[in-house]
Amino acid sequence: MLRGNIKKVNSLLVRSFHSSVPNKSSGPSSPIIYPSLDIENAGEKQKMNLFQAINNGMDIAMQKDSKAVIFGEDVGFGGVFRCTVGLRDKYGASRVFNTPLCEQGIAGFAIGLAAQGATPIAEIQFADYIFPAFDQIVNEAAKYRYRSGGQFNCGSLTIRSPYGAVGHGGHYHSQSPESYFGQTPGLKVVIPSTPIEAKGLLLASIREKDPVIFFEPKLMYRSAVEEVPIGDYEIPLGKARIVKEGKDITIIGWGAQMRVLLQAVNMAEEKLGISCELIDLRTIQPWDVETVVESVKKTGRVIISHEAPKTGGWAAEISATIQERCFLHLEAPIQRVCGYDTPFPLIFEKFYVPDHLKNFESIKKTIVY
């Protein structure tokens, strides 16, 4: 029934919406009004962008936990993305400090701090530079509790790192390495998409009893602005957010991709007259299977979108789980709209990223299947 209607709509509109104002594909051309998450009993709010909300979250963590320490390359003067501005002055250079330039050192040092009862909040300057720390994170942090028979753990460890496309980052300032870490048992992986959620998820990550890799969408450090509650609040890990309810198709993403997806959803609802359910996974591992499965059972159609290359990306994992749990509910093949299987190419970024148009086309294809 639905399929027939959509086909009719589609045949009417197919040519008319393919061309509009030139060169809008790099991202939202008109400001997308992204719905802010409501925090219950939040109290006083203040306008903050993403880096300010993260700064505010760390400020609260430092204030309430005297064992919390912040360190990494260039964090002393405020960090290259300004996330730690003012914290050294406020909490002293023994709690907020520069480390030598060595990511494996930062990660290993952080694990030791955590194992000895402190609360390390480590920064890796770019997610692209986390790989020298891969051994420490994957072989050490992730297995610390398991290998000791539960005697020791480094659960108080949080590693923050900016990830993702930024418009001019090329190979080494653009990558989205979440699935490398998502595949490692023992690690939790969190990616916020708004200032309000970043603060709540960061505070939850810092207080989480497992090591957390917290990837921050650097594209949004300044551009995403919300009225952020100034008090202490947490958003639980492992819980997705239904950003927008809908009935015809489920769209899943995280981080900076959420705004792109909202734009695609708006376009699809307007041009195709359908209703889309938009889900922000927020936690990559452990991810909220229940919310996703419930949504897909309702809509029967699903698209998963991320910037990271398609092959072996986290969308593949989600897709496999949906197939296992919702097979008889699916009306169309699950679609993945992702980066291509190439390194992130500087000058081709506009072509490379899974933009709103590619997502819109995928929605259309799924709907008319």
Binding site: E103, G170, Y172, T311, L357
Partner: protein, 445 residues
């Protein structure tokens, strides 16, 4: 027995058949009785190797006592303290060196501003480090391989990488040898024997050791030089590289540009002890020289000597050139947030490597204000013309997104390329296709 056999193997050299047979029997031997061999060979080693340290009944905690001195021969006035150590380049050669430094400086000023105007996406200046670039590059042969960090533009210019080459890369146009895939400043060129730069720090160091080992195996009379900063020397790859080079005795020149700042982190927060040079002799048993990086003749002499040692003795050398990063880390950085103007000016004015060489030329009567003005004007014109021209060029073809990932594209890549082109056919006006080479042709197919 094993070591003897290995030695025989090495001597056998090109006799492949015999070599294979011996290798096989060696491997079998290893498999069959590993424990016996291990104990046998370690016992033998004990007999052969004698401790190089002395035993003492004096309980003494060792601390750093002697700092490695910094070699310098030309003062800021351009006077060479030991005339016999003046490399005595001809007037033409010195003028070429000086004008390259000046051109680099002029280009840096323009491209920094050009990035500020949004015409290129990123830039990194070399202000204050010009003598390191030209002094070291002049001491090398074109057949020596270069691995760089990212602030060595003058080295590449000296070797024939032109202003056009640099600006095409910064403008990521279709003449960029890297096909527009990397950020500005990530040069690479077969012509000048420069392996392509990557942003991750220090990864190039162990690679350079491998490269020089290959040169050694091939019996070349060349070496590999690898440049890096004092901040990069904190990475684990530094240790890996130094230790490999020393243990495998490779013709590698480790050239550290100690410019005192790693973005906002001053060297005093980066390490303790006697800098980077201090790690060489005692830490790795590596020949080491510390040099005044703002003295072009000192840098030249040191690099020349290091090259001689590397090539003739087939062993690595560590150079630590002391200098100062006069500019910001990059166009993404504002260094006024973490250091004083006084500190910058003390170096920029008091120890300027360009004016030091100019003073030297003045003493010789080789340079005039008019020549200075003319060189600056001509460099400005070249850079501006090159820029205007580079901006007019097409960006590389969008097909280049999918090439060079592998030797030949995989089925998945071929499929993704088709998907992109089909998508672009649906939305030709939504993407800046007209800026990219061959777009019409690609979309037509």
């Amino acid at each position: 027995m094993i070591s003897q056999a290995s030695r025989v193997l090495t001597r056998l050299g090109r006799n492949n058949e015999l070599k294979r047979a011996l290798t096989n029997s060696l491997n079998n031997c290893n498999k069959s009785s590993p424990s016996i061999i291990r104990s046998f060979s370690s016992k033998k080693q004990e007999l052969e190797e004698k401790d190089k340290f002395e035993y003492t009944n004096n309980l003494e905690v060792q601390e750093l006592k002697h700092y490695i001195p910094c070699y310098t021969i030309m003062n800021q006035e351009g006077v060479v303290s030991k005339p016999e150590q003046d490399p005595n380049f001809t007037k033409e050669e010195v003028i070429k060196m000086y004008t390259t430094m000046l051109t680099l400086n002029v280009m840096d000023s323009i491209l920094y501003d050009v990035q500020r105007q949004g015409r290129i996406s990123f830039y990194m200046t070399s202000f204050g480090e010009e003598a390191i670039h030209i002094g070291s590059a002049a001491a090398l042969e074109m057949s020596d391989t270069i691995f760089a960090q990212y602030r060595e533009t003058g080295v590449f210019m000296w070797r024939g990488f032109t202003i056009n080459d640099i600006i095409n890369q910064c403008c990521t146009n279709e003449h960029d040898l890297g096909k527009g895939r990397q950020m500005p400043m990530h040069f690479g060129s077969r012509k000048i024997n420069l392996q392509t730069i990557s942003s991750p720090l220090t990864t190039q160091l162990p690679q350079a050791v491998g490269s020089s080992y290959a040169q050694k195996l091939a019996g070349e009379n060349n070496c590999t030089i690898v440049y890096f900063g004092e901040g990069a020397a904190s990475e684990g790859d530094f240790h890996a590289a130094m230790n490999f080079a020393a243990a495998l005795s490779t013709p590698t020149i480790f050239f550290c540009r100690n410019n005192k700042w790693a973005i906002s982190t001053p060297s005093k927060e980066q390490y303790k002890g006697d800098g980077i040079a201090g790690r060489g002799p005692n830490g790795y048993g590596m020949k080491t020289i510390r040099v005044d990086g703002n003295d072009i003749w000192a840098v030249y002499n040191v690099t020349k000597l290091a090259r001689k040692i590397a090539v003739e003795e087939q062993r690595p050398v560590l150079i630590e050139a002391m200098t100062y990063r006069v500019g910001h880390h990059s166009t993404s950085d504002d260094s006024s947030r973490y250091r004083t103007v006084e500190e910058i000016n003390a170096w920029k004015e008091g120890k300027n490597p360009i004016s030091r060489l100019r003073n030297y030329m003045n003493h010789k009567g080789w340079w005039s204000d008019a020549q200075e003005k003319e060189t600056i004007a001509s460099a400005r014109t070249s850079v501006r013309e090159s820029l205007v021209n580079a901006e007019k060029q097409y960006k590389p073809s969008i097909n280049e997104i999918f090439t060079d990932v592998y030797d030949k594209p995989t089925p998945a890549l071929i499929e993704q390329q088709k998907e992109l082109i089909e998508h672009l056919k649906l939305y030709p006006d939504e993407y800046p296709l007209n800026q990219f080479a061959d777009s019409k042709l690609i979309l037509k197919d």
